[in-house]
């Protein structure tokens, strides 16, 4: 992948984004907008993966309010998936959380998007503290992750067909791992519990 490829992806992504906005304004093309938005988001991920592989991605942790963070995330997907219920639980969240707001938002967007597509009735977003780590959790009430995804847990997807969700998980894992503190590093974990559960652990 060279700079030219990246530049083209970038342009196409912006065109898709504009298309999505226009479809959104029409009001009668909600589903089409979701498709365009999703395509643009996936290209964004791809660009980030390119940057990550060139070791150009760096995290800039600062103080983040997890309740606000999750509320903004939910607002975005509530609009794209108006029939779903969004539940936010920050009762067990630490008083102060520190992470790179923008990068973790991108990482979680993918998880939320997957959850929204699989969910039957709703998606739950939660933040809590566990063993000195911040846990950001995205859970849905859909059929759960397929076995192969549970097994490879965010490895670089091997085949193009698996890339639909695989690339996003890979990026989420990398972004989590870039968060380091005193010898500990971030990670992601996938599991099934009445639906798919995505967790990001940050030190």
């Amino acid at each position: 992948m060279n700079d030219l490829h990246a530049a083209v992806i970038h342009d196409v992504k912006n065109q898709l984004a504009e298309l999505a906005l226009r479809l959104g304004e029409r009001g009668d093309a909600q589903q089409e907008m979701v498709i365009a938005m999703d395509a643009a988001r996936r290209l964004s991920e791809m660009l980030l993966v390119i940057r990550q592989e060139a070791e150009l991605l760096s995290v800039n942790p600062d103080s983040v309010d997890t309740a606000d963070f999750l509320a903004i995330l939910a607002a975005e997907y509530r609009e794209l998936f108006p029939s779903l219920e969004f539940d936010i639980d920050t009762a067990q969240a630490p008083a102060f959380a520190f992470f790179d707001d923008a990068l973790v938002r991108l990482a979680l967007s993918n998880a939320v998007h997957n959850a929204c597509r699989s969910a039957r009735t709703g998606v739950r977003l939660a933040a809590r503290e566990q063993d000195g780590m911040l846990v950001l959790e995205v859970a849905d009430d859909g059929p759960g992750y397929p076995d192969d995804m549970l097994a490879n847990m965010g490895d670089m997807p091997a085949s193009a067909s698996a890339r639909g969700t695989g690339l996003g998980l890979y990026l989420a894992r990398k972004i989590a791992e870039l968060h380091r503190l005193e010898g500990r590093r971030g990670r992601i974990a996938l599991s099934n519990d009445k639906g798919a559960v995505f967790r990001m652990f940050l030190p």
Binding site: A17, E18, E25, A40, S63, A71, R78
Partner: protein, 581 residues
């Protein structure tokens, strides 16, 4: 033109705004309101509370793409915003800003070929053109994201990464407006540069330990630094660092240590930050500055060049880099960097007259006197005010000197020095001093530099400029440090003498001493404030004297223009009230 924007804007901040009220009235009556509510209802998912929250907020959108502009207009209108100005360029944005106070500014990072959104923000902040309380949101594509974040010295309040949905946008703005309200009193004090009040307001808000706690610590620590209280600032940064090694807190601690005189520790910490977070550009700038002031200009230049490889420079870094290049004997480097920059920012307000001065000096140093002079001639087309004329005449003098035309050099220098030095900004004064050195007029140069220091007490940037002019003229670092320290002590002594005399009842002498200093150093508010105060005290004691009263009011008004919340004003006014009884 360039200077006009500044002027208009400064006036605006203190004045009322009849235009805006009229516009507001028009938008809130009749059809417009009905239409807006209907649009909001149609979109269905926006709470009514949001409508009223957004409806009275003034928003400025800056985007060079027509398509994006109309999309944003539609999105914002649908979200309930009614007071919108949407422009396609920085120039239009500044025109709008001269007449309106905006609550929210949305700016696209890439604004075409020239100046980008980050450089624009840097320009607004360094020239105090927007309130701290104005929400500045940078709209970026992910590729540009790191460039924006990296320049975090002048960070926007938030970033919106394209593509974004209306829901996401509204949710973000709601949070930002909530924050805006929470920080209103603090930001107001910061706009007035009343650091004591910023600290007091932060102290009021900190005990709640709410979600803004860390940001309040950051704001308070920065205010402590401004208030010249580095020890407390260092402690606060350490408290934050005990929670988490955040980049800004590490750099803050390094700054505080430098101010406390612990230069080696400060440098060491800055090096560690650069090693740990190579994208954290502000650390490079700080480290470069530290190295330069310790006399290692080569190393300083190296650090800034390294920074330039990682992120495109802010204008301030480009200025530092080119100045260092000239004084370390690499004028070719300065020439190429500054030429490129001025070409890129052609017609943009982010340029300064000093940028042309640097380029011209780089050329003169290489013996390219003709080119140096033509750069000055170019600059004269865009910078026509008196202060710029002083800078450019001094620059011209250096070019003539380089060409061996001492007579022309003398004439240009004389022109540079025609105005009242006291009213010139320190940057112009140091430029003239530089030209004096070139012509061997060392006494005059020193006098000018002393004036620059004394007229701008506690201004680190100006100290650095003076330091740079001195070392560039061949002075040792220790000599330059001593000269700056001496100048600082001298004015403190004058101030203390004046106050002591007044306390001892020797009002005539106190008035004479302080007024002489105040007329010479109109920008030194401590001196001007004390001059006004001793006159007021004397008037209360000896009865009214119209001439002295006029002088007192002149000083008082000068302070109000520069710092409307200056603490000493209350004391002066209380004396003047006694006079009226």
């Amino acid at each position: 033109m360039h200077g006009d924007y500044l002027q208009q804007h400064r006036q605006r901040q203190f004045g009322s705004n009849p235009d805006m009220q009229t516009a507001q009235a028009v938008l809130l009556t009749g059809d417009a309101r009905v239409r807006r509510v209907r649009a909001v209802l149609d979109s269905g998912n926006i709470a009514l509370a949001t409508i009223s929250q957004f409806a009275d907020k003034w928003v400025l959108v800056i985007d060079d793409m027509e398509g994006m502009r109309s999309q944003l207009r539609m999105s914002l209108t649908n979200s309930g915003f009614a007071k919108l100005h949407i422009v396609g360029s920085i120039r239009e944005a500044l025109e709008r800003m001269a007449g309106n106070r905006y609550d929210v500014i949305l700016c696209d990072y890439s604004l075409g070929e020239g100046t980008d959104g980050q450089q624009f923000l840097e320009y607004l902040r360094t020239n105090d053109l927007i309130s701290r309380n104005t929400i500045f949101v940078m709209i970026t594509a992910e590729q540009a994201y790191e460039k924006v974040v990296a320049a975090s010295e002048c960070a926007p309040d938030d970033y919106l990464l394209k593509p974004f949905t209306a829901g996401q946008f509204n949710a973000r703005l709601e949070k930002l407006l909530e924050r805006q309200q929470f920080f209103a009193a603090i930001d107001k004090a910061a706009d007035a540069k009343d650091w004591t009040r910023v600290i007091a307001e932060c102290d009021k808000a900190l005990p709640a330990k709410n979600k803004y706690f860390i940001e309040l610590c950051k704001t308070k620590a920065a205010a402590l630094m401004h208030a010249n209280r580095p020890r407390e600032a260092a402690n606060l940064y350490r408290d934050v660092l005990a929670l988490r090694p955040i980049g800004w807190a590490r750099l803050g601690l390094a700054r505080a240590l430098a101010m406390l005189g612990e230069k080696n520790e400060a440098q060491q910490l800055a090096r560690e930050i650069v090693a740990d977070s190579p994208q954290f550009m502000a650390a490079y700038d700080f480290l470069g500055g530290q190295l330069a002031s310790s006399g290692d200009k080569e190393a300083a230049l190296g650090v800034l060049q390294k920074a330039g490889e990682i992120s495109p420079g802010t204008m301030n870094r480009i200025r530092e880099l080119s100045t260092l290049a000239v004084s370390t004997g690499q004028p070719e480097l300065a020439e190429s960097v500054m030429r490129q920059t001025l070409q890129k920012h052609k017609y943009s307000p982010v340029r300064q007259v000093h940028d042309y001065a640097i380029l011209s000096k780089a050329l003169a140093t290489q013996g390219k006197a003709d080119e140096a002079l033509s750069v000055v001639a170019d600059a004269r087309k865009d910078f026509r005010d008196e202060q710029s004329d002083a800078v450019l005449s001094a620059t011209e003098s250096i070019a003539h000197r380089a060409a061996g035309n001492d007579e022309l050099a003398e004439a240009a220098l004389a022109r540079a020095m025609t105005g009242d030095i006291g009213t010139l900004p320190a940057g112009a004064v140091t430029a003239i001093a530089d030209a004096c050195f070139a012509l061997g007029k060392e006494d005059e140069a020193n006098k000018l530099l002393r004036h620059a220091i004394q007229n701008n007490p506690e201004d680190e940037t100006i100290r650095n400029k003076v330091h740079n002019v001195l070392t560039a003229a061949g002075k040792e670092v220790t000599e330059a440090d001593a000269m700056i320290e001496e100048s600082t002590q001298e004015i403190i002594r004058i101030n203390n003498d004046g106050v002591r005399k007044a306390e001892a009842g020797q009002f005539d002498e106190a008035v004479e001493l302080l007024c002489e200093a105040a007329d010479r150093l109109p920008n030194n508010l401590q001196i001007v404030g004390n001059a006004a105060l001793v006159i007021a005290l004397q008037l209360v004691r000896n009865g009214n004297d119209p001439k002295l009263l006029a002088q007192c009011l002149r000083y008082r008004d000068a302070i109000i223009v520069k710092a409307p919340d200056y603490p000493k004003l209350a004391q002066i006014d209380s004396q003047l009230r006694q006079l009226n009884k």
